[in-house]
Symmetry: C2
Subunit: 324 residues, 2 copies
């Protein structure tokens, strides 16, 4: 078996993406799509899909349309989420709604979601499994919408519990990573058990990854993350660090913390919150949690001992050690 | 053959819709969907789908999920278009973004689009045609997005030509009516020729209907339309009446007209524009055009003389004579 590494699969995916950029009339609908596609990013979802397919097949070419489909879904959700979060930057560049206007970002996002289903139909055509692939995607898509809605609803509460927060990120991030692997495995003809194990591994990776993202928001290096430092605090966004801190404080201290968190956004100064997080070792706690997700995911992979899951493990390890 | 009339099919659809309202967690994602579903409207798209199916089958029950799918698509597009147009009212009630906020309207709209594909998969399952139904829908969905984008692009120009405007409404409105009939016919097992003829009839009806909508914006009775009188003028929206008028004026008069149109929006007074339209018989021209679309559509139906298309004809006639 020819097992491809992350870098090789990324290259294969990037050249497929570049030669399948969308054009049409009016171009104003497609230009924002090409823009977000070219913003880059780690291409984790399509690469996971290709890696899963590659566990059974040397040639990953037949899985490329499905890999593009999950990247389209991901970019659709970024386009719409960035409007909702009023985020100015994405991967160090202007967000779509900042550059092309809110209405264009809504509509081009819609077009990406539609194209995602179209690509899955294409991916499933030769094996006559287009409907199954789409059906997997509609299920997870609704879960992702639910996750985003929970995220918005949490903003209106003092704070969700840690458990509620983790359920939200499972739906918002974990599900799509799991489904990317699932789609690749289904296309490859994997057993139900194999498909589900890969899905679980993906979910755990996604959760670890999201918790890490929250950690990097204040503890990360802007030149690496490409995001505004402390952006969550400056926008008053209640991420995992906030939720954990809130739930470990006494009720009077919770009140004071809420006030300070709002003040930090008003003053556009995240330092008082960063100091509090450092005093309370919130960073250490968060890193431990993210590690436990990655380890659970790796343990899932170990049950697939009849397959060579080394590239998936390497990917997990490299994600875990993302430069802080 | 039991051929159902518009009213009967509407009833069947309404009760299916009511018993299939979506619930889930968090409910804040699903409440706006139930709200827009309950706003009513003429249910033209699902009824067209059922009528097409009913040309070949007495029992329309198997087509109900697909009928719900096209209504979901339509309501998704209304939810997002209303944000883009900043429309305060829809069918005499508050629009979703006015009532639930813009972010909720974006996200619940996304969920409706996803659910549309899910319903088509359900509709196609027993005949194993879910992928074909979805594929028809992804094609038309992208055309509709293109139509909406053209509509927005036109706002930034002095005026499109009449031809460009009609191409836009074909994509924005005509295509979905055509596709509704197409989906019903495909599910019923119609021939390629029959499917295409019904599609053309639907497109013509859609265009006639949209031109009529533009006409009713200023010439209609608010208590019947449920919309703000002269809403297009007050929002500076360049509808068919505007486009036709602009293209029949001399360049200096075009300039003056553009100025007056902008002034009407500033003053929130549509009367000067209405007077101009009346002086130039724009209403008469528009009504003639809408009639020609309906007549072309009816001529298409006449070629299907081996089928009893009476209910479709009656529907077309009743749409044509919508109370002015």
């Amino acid at each position: 078996m020819a097992l491809y590494e992350y870098a090789t699969l990324t290259d294969k995916f990037e050249s497929y993406l570049a030669s399948h950029q969308p054009y049409g009339s009016p171009d104003s609908l497609y230009e924002p799509i090409r823009y977000i596609n070219e913003l880059g990013g780690k291409r984790i979802r399509p690469v996971l899909l290709l890696m899963a397919y590659n566990l059974w097949h040397d040639d990953v070419t037949p899985a490329l349309p499905a890999a593009l489909a999950v990247e389209y879904f991901h970019n659709f959700s970024l386009m719409h989420d960035d409007i909702m979060d009023e985020a100015p930057l994405r991967r160090g560049k202007k967000t779509v709604h900042t550059l092309y206007g809110r209405n264009n970002a809504i509509l081009s996002g819609d077009a990406m979601l539609i194209r995602c289903f179209d690509l899955l139909l294409e991916a499933g055509r030769s094996q006559d499994i287009g409907a199954s692939l789409c059906s997997l995607m509609t299920k997870v898509s609704l879960e992702i919408c639910e996750g985003q809605q929970l995220d918005m609803d949490f903003e209106k509460m003092a704070s969700p519990s840690e458990e509620q927060y983790l359920d939200m990120i499972k739906r918002k991030t974990g599900c799509l990573l799991g489904t990317s692997l699932k789609l690749g495995a289904v296309m490859a003809g994997a057993s139900h058990q194999e498909v589900e194990t890969l899905n679980q591994f993906g979910e755990m990776m996604g959760m670890g990854f999201q918790v890490q993202d929250d950690f990097l928001d204040v503890f990360g290096d802007t030149t690496v993350t490409g995001k505004q430092k402390g952006g969550d605090i400056l926008r008053g966004k209640k991420n995992f660090l906030f939720v954990h801190t809130y739930n470990t404080l006494s009720p009077p201290d919770q009140k004071a913390f809420l006030k300070d968190y709002a003040q930090a956004a008003d003053d556009q100064d995240f330092n008082p919150i960063l100091d509090l997080y450092e005093n309370r070792n919130v960073g250490t706690y968060t890193q431990k949690l993210q590690t436990s997700f990655f380890e659970k995911g790796l343990a899932d992979l170990d049950t697939l001992n009849h397959l060579n899951t080394l590239p998936l493990k390497e990917l997990a390890v490299s994600l875990m050690s993302r430069d802080h």
